[in-house]
Homo-oligomer: 137 residues x 2
């Protein structure tokens, strides 16, 4: 992984989302099905209006002991989206993740969310680096 | 991060745990308090008898819609512990994490759990690598 490369190179372009009125049960099912730790919340116009992580579910549903059908996703999602421009370097993005203590970040281009980068992507990139190093021997 | 170094160098030695009879509410609170995605479950003899991730809580409590007080942690924890020896290389460990699709792994030495390695540790190591690279310029 080239830490100076733009994050665009390593981000995941396929965004997996739920609707604001979906239940948290549904959001959990989608996370399990796709084996991901976060989801974007997309409204009818196709705009990303929120972000939901496993941590949000633990903090705002499991700990208070709320049922999984109410509140819907929009009540427990994070509305204050953390984004980086697609031109930001991998190093800058890792720095933001670490300082904010978050594991996923949205990538934005021309005012639109175009991808997501998570520390799982970092795992894959590190593995590829290892394979390249071994192949070069 | 030297991918050939033993995982011992990068693992977190401080294990944060709950008891088998603790509630999932309590486990969630500990995860939020320490900002971690997994916990070890430790019995009265001090042995690690299980492992609990945010994903386990989503899958086995939130989706089925169970209350946060029952079942206790022991009913939803993972009992089949995935461990690596402390001498395994970082590269081998990343490979296991990736192939198994997991984000945390326990590190074992002489039959005892001595640490945990998660992809958050990978984030910190990558950041240090960047700082070293910049300092060397």
């Amino acid at each position: 992984m080239d830490l100076r490369a733009p994050i665009r190179v390593y981000m995941t372009k396929k965004l997996i989302g739920v609707r604001p009125d979906d239940t948290v049960k549904r959001a959990g099912e989608v996370m399990v099905e796709f084996d991901i730790g976060s989801l974007v919340v997309v409204n009818d116009e196709g705009n990303v209006v929120g972000f939901l992580t496993k941590g949000d579910i633990i903090k705002r549903l499991v700990i208070p002991g709320l049922p999984n059908t109410t509140p819907p996703v929009k009540e427990i999602m994070t509305k204050d989206l953390v984004t980086v421009p697609s031109t930001a370097s991998v190093g800058e993005v890792l720095d933001i993740l670490s300082k904010k203590g978050i594991k996923h970040i949205l990538v934005e281009e021309d005012g639109k969310i175009v991808g997501i980068f998570s520390i799982s992507d970092l795992l894959e990139a590190s593995r590829r680096r290892l394979e390249t190093a071994i192949a070069a021997e």
